[in-house]
Symmetry: C2
């Protein structure tokens, strides 16, 4: 608890090797040396491009939501639009592209909400959060064979109800929404 | 955009098989059928026990933080205490145990802040968020050979500064803290 305790040292990287193929991630094992005791640890790292997600609000003050079946939880999930930044693409451009591709909405009034870490213990990437106000639907959506998405629009109060009821609880979506609206308590589970 | 569009169907599970060994996760591949077009998709699922994290506040209104080197990002990260729920353990018990083990702090005045999904696209688990007020340090910490942790205490204003400066940006930590304090804008990166 003393100031001197605050000087935490990085762990030396001894070696690194590719891990198993995971389709959406490249996995890798790093061997790190604990600076406290020189203990050697084999650490899993999932390598991923950065992600983006977008709080898009219409002139009627409705937030654009996407509803899709999510394979990790095996459940339908309500989220804001988002996706993966392409190689050579800025996260600003990725946010505009993902919003257009996933929902058909476009807007001009963009502001950056900052970045958070999806999981610094395992993942090496960031998620960039964007806000765009006054969006209108200008395009039809075109989904990949591997997608089935329903687009919703909801007023701030309805979004809060979805959160309170546990219908909308993707952590990265909550982080982005929390920059734009005041979040209610998350649904409590037993 | 019509009400009828809102009836999103779950994807039929065709088969499931174990994936490569990842140490901290069990991985699995599910074959799902897209209800829209009967397209068959091989989906990665990382199986994990539920996680917990804890906003612990001292009688002096300081929040207990842990600073550790995180292998995914390869950086030192400032977070709230947290960890994995053990087999047969309730998340309420796990929150108390993780706080005690990681920081030596204990308290009686616990409230559940609800659960969020770390990543419903890939992970099958939840993260349970807990708040405990009036904690005091009753134990020495005992770290595993594979841990090197520094404990900090910070007033609400200091925590907000850490977030603004991008020193504290683990998404699950932001979700938990956002239930207890009003979060400032996240640090914006270029």
């Amino acid at each position: 608890m003393k100031p001197a305790d605050d000087s935490l040292r990085p762990w030396e990287l001894e070696k690194s090797e590719p891990g198993p193929d995971l389709k959406v991630f490249k996995s890798r094992f790093d061997w790190r040396i604990n600076p406290r005791n020189r203990h050697r640890l084999k650490c899993l790292v999932l390598e991923s491009r950065d992600w983006v997600n977008i709080v898009a609000r219409t002139p009627e003050k409705e937030i654009v939501l996407v509803k899709q079946f999510r394979f990790g939880r095996g459940e339908v999930s309500i989220e804001i639009p988002g996706g993966i930044v392409d190689a050579g693409e800025s996260h600003a451009a990725a946010a505009r592209r993902e919003l257009r591709e996933e929902t058909g909405f476009e807007g001009e009034n963009w502001s950056y909400l900052g970045a958070s870490e999806p999981n610094p213990a395992i993942l090496d990437n960031l998620c960039h959060h964007w806000f765009v106000d006054g969006v209108v639907r200008r395009h039809e959506t075109e989904f990949d064979a591997g997608e089935d998405i329903v687009i919703l629009k909801a007023k701030e109060d309805e979004v809060k109800k979805m959160i309170s009821r546990g219908l909308l609880r993707h952590s990265l979506v909550l982080v982005a929404l929390g920059r734009v609206i005041t979040l209610p308590p998350i649904a409590a589970l037993p």
